[in-house]
């Protein structure tokens, strides 16, 4: 809400010497937050003065235009006292008129610098200004001619034009709809600014009584439209200009001046907060009827949009059909035009919820709708209509029609019981009941103590405060007037907490582990498109294709919540490579969305706690959202340098990173081959813990690498952290180990290429028995010595007993048993 200061001060007095800053500081502290103070003339610098036209000589030009060569008395403002020679293209003035003159050195809005320049054969030293050139409106028909008593030539003209007006912009919260009016703002000044007084309520006026001579109005839905007031002005001059003060104020408030009739309705809306609609009375046919729309009815609104109406919409009709969307926007057929001479003024009170729904349904935001949907004082319809009539008559030369139509009565405000000490209990400040009562009365409430001195107050909010419905709402009114800045600072004393949960601790541990492994954490948006899944190479049947669709995505290409972190992470890795970080290791943890298609999440009642069953159903209706970890490595895993050659990322780095994470949770991961997009079909490991699949890791398919701008051999992993964390070992048992000498045995086994090393190792472990302390695969060989399709796996085995030194031959026997088991299980043959 933008409010010119002069307009505020028309309605309320502040002590002499009160600065704008003092006013805005106080208003900010009591809840009307200052956004900015601006001045319409802020872009104008340099000499802008009153000039008196001394002479003007019309000079026809070759291009058909006629210019005026003028001499203008600008007093001493030009430093010489001599008349100023200025070329002017306008003709709406005569010698002797006072005009607005900008002298060389001045700058007009838009950075338009004024100098002395040669034009039309003259040296034109300055400019005679129009309203538009000064940013004071759209009127470009001619230059501004000031009233004869405006001042002396040479005098600064800013004050005369209202250019030095200060316009205060407030942020108005949804509960303070009354502050969307000068009336409301002035009232806030009255209660907030020390010493303010003399509030002149623009809605407090004598209005003519209702009679039967007015335009007939029938309200069929009195809940949707509790009050409908209609007044009429005839003989209105459609060409009448809007007075300057009104143009200036409407413009300053951020609205566009259009015509006197429209400007007056907007002016009164800004002044009182009550939206007004004007109809061309001659285009109305028969009685006005207010009702709900019927299925399929249509209306073309003032903005030229043809709309299909909803049975929830409130409409204004006449014999011709629907003529307006009540309280939101009028229709085209009865719009006030340049030929309108009779205006029917509507000031109606509309149901706020209905206004909100209609506005949202039709995506209409208007100044009227903004006020109607937040709630307007229902008692001021007659006053607002009367004020419009007054201004139309005064400035448009019409006459007020004697008919006054008033249908309905304003709904009564509720009486709310408020504990006298509530404000004190809520705020922690020693606010007395007397203080509370005084504050509530200051904001317009009627307060009376309940019978029996129970300490409970009966409070009726003023009609402009529909937001005050609960006892707690009144406590805010008291506390804000006492002052939020006076709330003391006291620390509560919580009971002993239990710290982070185990899962929370482990998530941090996982992040630190990966950072320790050289991975950098990133955060990406969880939005994904089908093209991203195509780029991953997912098959049509892949369960990750089942996505939660957003109704209103920002980007149609990414209209779903993702089921995998890989697209975002691969894209991010690709961007890093594109930025020249060719060796990149990144990870992300975040939830993915896996739809359960379990039906709607009910809208439960709010006047009681939901039942356990209702809450369970609510959670069951949401998609599963497991926490995932994904990581990507591209380029070199270990950089090359004076120490050694670089080691490019390999599938094994992805598996090892997951193993490191699992190890940090006390878990061991098993890997087995699987084919799964987006990985290389021969280099993807399915990772399991205790037999349950927790994720996948390996080398990314070369086609996928290319799609994401990544080098070949990029590696990636994605695991379900919820599964891992659920299995994390909480209390690890302290180890026992032998201090007897170790016996080392190496074996090399030749197996088929297709035999997994993990299977060979498992057989060796099993065969070696309890004496085996550790086993390590230290070499994998393929080549001539083992033959085509075969590989040699070399293992170092360490044997040791807990309680004794091994006897001669004991370790060898265990080794032989291990080899025998491997031969039996995997066809392994020991190399000589």
């Amino acid at each position: 809400m933008k409010a010119p200061l002069s307009w505020i001060l028309d309605l309320v007095d502040v002590p002499a010497g009160t600065t704008t800053e003092e006013i805005t500081d106080r208003l900010t502290l009591t809840g009307l937050k200052l956004e900015a103070v601006v001045s319409p003339g802020r872009e104008i610098t340099g000499p802008l003065v009153i000039g008196r036209v001394l002479t003007m000589e019309p000079e026809p030009q070759k291009n058909g235009k006629t210019i005026n060569w003028c001499t203008v008395d600008v007093g001493d403002a030009n430093g010489t006292g001599e008349p100023q020679g200025i070329v002017c293209g306008a003709h709406n003035f005569a010698p002797g008129d006072l005009v607005v003159t900008v002298l060389p050195g001045g700058v007009l809005p838009g950075g338009f610098e004024i100098g002395a320049r040669k034009t039309y054969g003259h040296l034109s030293a300055g400019m005679i200004c129009s309203a538009r050139e000064l940013g004071l409106g759209e009127d470009h028909d001619g230059i501004i001619v000031l009233p004869p008593d405006a001042g002396e030539p040479g005098q600064d003209v800013r004050a005369v034009l209202g250019l030095d007006e200060e316009v205060i912009e407030f942020e108005v919260n949804p509960d303070r709809a009354y502050a969307l009016s000068l009336r409301g703002i002035a009232r806030e000044v009255l209660v907030s600014v020390e010493g303010a007084s003399g509030f002149r309520d623009p809605a407090l006026r004598e209005t003519p009584a209702a009679n039967d001579d007015g335009h007939p109005v029938v309200v069929e839905d009195s809940e949707g439209c509790p009050v409908f007031v209609a007044r009429r002005v005839d003989g209105f001059d459609p060409a009448a200009a809007t007075p300057d003060f009104m143009v200036q104020r409407i413009t300053a408030a951020g609205m566009r001046p259009i015509s006197l009739a429209v400007d007056v309705t907007n002016y009164v809306m800004l002044e009182t907060g009550r939206p007004i609609h004007g109809y061309d009375a001659d285009r109305l046919q028969g009685a006005i009827v207010v009702r709900r729309a019927r299925e399929g009815e249509k209306l073309t609104t003032l903005d030229g949009t043809a709309r299909t109406l909803d049975p929830g919409d409130l409409v204004v009709t006449d014999d011709s059909g629907i003529i307006g969307l009540g309280g939101v926007m009028g229709g085209e057929t009865t719009e006030i035009s340049g030929t309108t001479t009779s205006v029917l003024v509507e000031a109606a009170h509309w149901d706020a919820v209905s206004m909100f729904r209609t506005g949202r349904r039709h995506k209409i935001t208007s100044e009227a709708g903004k006020r109607n949907e937040r709630g307007v004082d229902p008692t001021i319809c007659e006053a607002a209509a009367d004020r419009v009539v007054e201004l139309l008559v005064e400035h448009g030369g019409g006459t007020a029609h004697p008919g006054v139509t008033v249908v309905g009565t304003p709904p009564a405000m509720p009486v709310v019981e408020v504990a006298g000490d509530l404000a004190a209990r809520v705020s922690g400040m020693p606010i007395t009941e007397e203080q509370s009562v005084a504050c509530l009365r200051a904001v317009g409430c009627e307060v009376s103590a309940a019978v029996g001195g129970s300490g409970t107050l009966s409070v009726t909010p003023p009609p402009w405060r529909p937001d005050l419905t609960d006892a707690q709402d009144f406590s805010e009114e008291v506390v804000r007037l006492v002052g939020y800045d006076k709330v003391p600072s006291v620390l509560p004393t919580p009971p002993s907490g239990r710290g982070l949960t185990r899962a929370q601790q482990l998530r941090r541990r996982i992040g630190r582990t990966l950072a320790g492994e050289g991975f950098v954490e990133v955060v990406t948006f969880p939005f994904v498109g089908e093209a991203d899944l195509d780029a991953l190479g997912l098959t049509a049947e892949d369960p990750r294709r089942d996505l939660l669709r957003l109704s209103n995505p920002l980007n149609a290409e990414a209209g779903f919540m993702t089921s995998t972190l890989l697209p975002g992470l691969l894209r991010t890795a690709g961007k890093n490579v594109g930025h020249g970080t060719t060796d990149v290791a990144i990870f992300e943890t975040g939830t993915v969305t896996l739809p359960r298609h379990a039906g709607p999440a009910a809208i439960l009642p709010v006047d009681r706690r939901p039942t356990e069953a209702e809450l369970e159903a609510l959670d069951a209706a949401l998609p599963a959202q497991p926490l995932h970890l994904a990581l990507v490595g591209a380029g070199d895993a270990v950089s090359g340098g004076w120490w050694a050659e670089a080691q490019p990322f390999s599938w094994a780095d992805a598996v090892e990173a997951v193993r490191a994470v699992a190890a940090s949770l006390g878990l061991e991961v098993s890997a087995s081959a699987v084919e799964l997009a987006p990985w290389h079909p021969g280099r993807c490991a399915e990772l399991t813990v205790d037999g349950e699949v927790i994720g996948h890791a390996g080398e990314v398919h070369p086609t996928v690498c290319q799609a994401f701008g990544l080098p070949k051999r990029t590696v990636a992993a994605e695991v379900d952290l919820d599964l891992l964390i659920a299995r994390a070992v909480h209390l690890r048992t302290a180890p026992t180990f032998s201090s007897y000498p170790v016996a080392k045995e190496d074996v090399a086994l030749v197996v088929d290429d297709t035999v997994p090393a993990a299977a060979v190792e498992a057989a060796l472990r099993e065969g070696a028995g309890a004496l085996l302390e550790s086993i390590r695969l230290f070499d994998v060989y393929t080549g001539d010595q083992v033959g085509e399709g075969r590989k040699s796996l070399a293992y170092a085995l360490r044997f040791r007993a807990l309680d004794r030194t091994l006897k001669e031959g004991e370790a060898a026997a265990a080794r032989d048993a291990a080899v025998a088991r491997a031969a039996e299980r995997t066809g392994a043959i020991q190399r000589a």
Binding site: S427, P494, A515, A602
Partner: protein, 365 residues
Amino acid sequence: MSGPNTDYDPVEVTPLKADQVEAMREAALAAIADAPDLDALKQVRLDHAGDRSPIALANREIGALPPQARKEAGQRIGQARGAINQALAARQSVLEAEHEERMLVEETVDVSLPTTRRRRGSRHPLTLQSELIADLFVAMGYEVAEGPVVEAEWLNFDALNLGPDHPARTMQDTFWTEPAEDHVVLRTQTSPVQARTLLTRKPPIYVVCPGRVFRTDEYDATHSPMFHQVEGLVVDEGITMAHLKGTLDHFASQLFGDGISTRFRPSYFPFTEPSAEVDVLCFVCRNVDAESCRTCRGEGWIEWGGCGVVNPRVLVACGVDPEVYSGFAFGMGIDRSFMFRHDLEDLRPLFEGDVRFSSAFGTEI
């Protein structure tokens, strides 16, 4: 003791004469002193103290001497051998020290060589900021509550006193999901976690809820469709705005520095009443000569978040008796706090994933 030697020729037992033993000793000591290195000393040891050395041979003769001569000869040779061994040991340690010194000189490397063989990882600054904030509250006795990002409309709005026709609903530009009749949204705030907490815990409740939230804001320097919030909720007997103020003052001083306090301005949130905007004192200029301060843009205070006394309607919807309990709630942008704490003007680097950004913050902030 050995028995009489059959080869013994007493005439040859000259070494037992004092001057001859002295000569052996002198020769040995001279050779030891002259040994230039450990290898040479090894040879000297063999020559002058080894089994075949003159002094060793002389020693063997002692047994053949008449008993009255044995004692004297034994003493003489023993002293000589002692001196030689002592000299050998001394020379050995000198030469060893010299050797080690030389070896160390030879092993000198260029320690200015780069040592960056392994890449250094890091965590995301917003993760770190969230954890830091959580830790501040955990230290006060709070617990960290969590909830889903894809949330039921009822929990994101209705339960928080944001009914279907509440104008404030349109202020939070919500991502809705399909089918619309499922009433599922991307949570626009972390407040549904507060509702979940009220529904599942019994007072006294002291929790913070950091997490990701979503709004349909176009992505630019100051807006992101996804950002991070932290909300706090306290429900206990006798909780007032004063407790809220005390808690936020403490929070501000922990996060931004000693003496940094907060300021409340009336505001509006459906789930709190009274409601307030919280400003935090600019930790750069502390509102002293704020005009030239970039961090607070000359205001002296920085808009930090919203807060208020929990609306009794919310307590009722979540099954908490408002006659017994009252509470406060607050919410701040983690990203926004991070931005002014770390002098970041454009939020986009937080979500671009350029490793150069995260790497700058390491693993703790």
